[in-house]
Amino acid sequence: MTVSLLPVWAVLTPVLGLCALLLCERWMRPERVAAPFVGLSLYLSLSMTYEVMTSQAPLVYALGGWLPPLGLTLRADGVGVLLMALTALVMTGVAICAWTPPGDATARSRFSFWALLLALWSALNLAFTAQDLFNFFVALEMLSFAAVALVALDGTRGALIAALRYLLFALAGSILYLLGVGLIYGRYAVLDLAGLREIAQPDTVTLAALALMTAGLMAKTALFPLHLWLPPAHAGAPAPASAVLSALVVKAPFLIILRLWVDLLPLPAAAPQQIMAGLGAAAILVCSVIALRQQRLKLMIAYSTLAQVGYLFLMFPLMPGPAPWQDIGWTGGLLQLASHGFAKAAMFLAAGLIYEALGHDRVAELGGLARRQPVTLAAFAIAGLSLMGLPPSGGFIAKLLLLTAAVETGAWWIAAVILAGGILAAFYVFRALGHALADGDPPMAPVALYRQGAVLALALCALALGFVPLRPFALLAIGRPLEALEAMP
């Protein structure tokens, strides 16, 4: 491992940006204050990714020089830097796209948007680098508070109701998680993941604690049947906020579930994994069908998020080996996470631009869009390609790997669900595309080309993941299995 301050700076830089925003609120436009911090955070995340890839070792820092079990460490491993790079690229795309806000947005809500965006970024980086159960809790709370406020940003009655419902689900989730943390601490008197890994036993208390924590995190990541809060929240938020919420925020609790069952208590091929995959399969089938029936584009995309989150949970029974990070199920699931992040961000931003141009996002009335906004629609189509799992795209590689893993482990029902989910996704994406390609000449407001370009760039990132299938295998295994930090040089 490499001792490095970079993970600390990755968490701190957005917070510094937040402070700068608060100080300069009166004198400067918020996006101008936030921009350098967005750039700096992007640079930090990418340089961390580069560092981890070249040194093949995680970046570690023990805060204040205190080692676990008393101290807290931040540790960026292969999976961590992948998600941080994803976050950084999506955030940058969202920042470019939100640069010129809609004309009627007041200065106050613009300030709030940029402040909350930076707060979210810090929370995400903390969730991706934290190493102990309690630090996860802190990161999740930072995340939930910023995300709820983003949902309520519009201030309309519908948005407030959606935000309140989201908050109640998130709170129920975090209190269950905290109870699980308490049980673990009572049993082992350790909260550090590397320390727990050495002593954790699959006994009643540990399993009960993990069940509580997993159930709480499922509510936060909106896995079926705890998904009811997501569609109104993600469809009701302003489009750039929806992009961040759907692409990134639901991924952080999922990563923690993954780390609980891989890093803390690896139980190959046991009942909990099957239950999680079963819920994921139900999410894919049920929510894809509901997505098909939506009349509004943003709601359709929100239901598609629920289905795509279901794919993530399929990976649990598909990595039966003693070292799960060597299995293709691991790579498939994490690639699905990354490609869905890019694709969904592009899709929500495209929906936002379409809404700005047309003044509505009713699927049946999208006619004429292809001729007037070809770049936005191309981005939408490319992102859809990844959601469906058609080549060439990150979604294709991810779903192919999951499918292969399902066939190899003999889990035929998972293979069937993956195929059915792809067909259903094709139905709802092509339905929207078909309407958009139809003739029509509705009145349209102009949308700046650079904003359309940013959306297209994010969609192309999802596409590009389809061309680097072999490289991530090695990256995703860096820093596993967890090793305890011995000393701080």
């Binding site: 709370e141 508070f145 406020a149 908050l167």
Partner: protein
């Protein structure tokens, strides 16, 4: 003895709160139920800290530190939810 009693009380509070969280349809009651679960969980943490007394310590500081953070978070969350509720129950205003 007293730790067992407190532990059971905490478990009962969590149970009652969860029941309320699931059963009650109104947001305000759900918020109160959440606070009840929170109180139960914090009590469990208190019991955990006290159990270290058997090892010759006055109390384990780690669960106490966690509880302080947990209380702050629960308080902030309650304030946020109450603000949203107040905005929702107030007169319809222009956004």
């Amino acid at each position: 003895m007293s730790t067992t009693l407190f532990g059971l009380t905490g478990a009962a509070l969590v149970g009652i709160g969860l029941f309320g969280l699931i059963v009650h349809p109104t947001a305000l009651r759900k918020l109160l139920a959440f606070n009840l679960v929170g109180a139960g969980v914090f009590l469990v943490f208190g019991v955990l800290a006290r159990r270290a007394a058997a090892a010759g310590l006055a109390g384990d500081p780690v669960p106490q530190a966690i509880v302080i953070t947990g209380i702050v978070v629960a308080f902030a969350a309650t304030a946020l939810a109450a603000t949203l509720l107040a905005r929702l129950s107030g007169p319809e205003e222009e956004p």
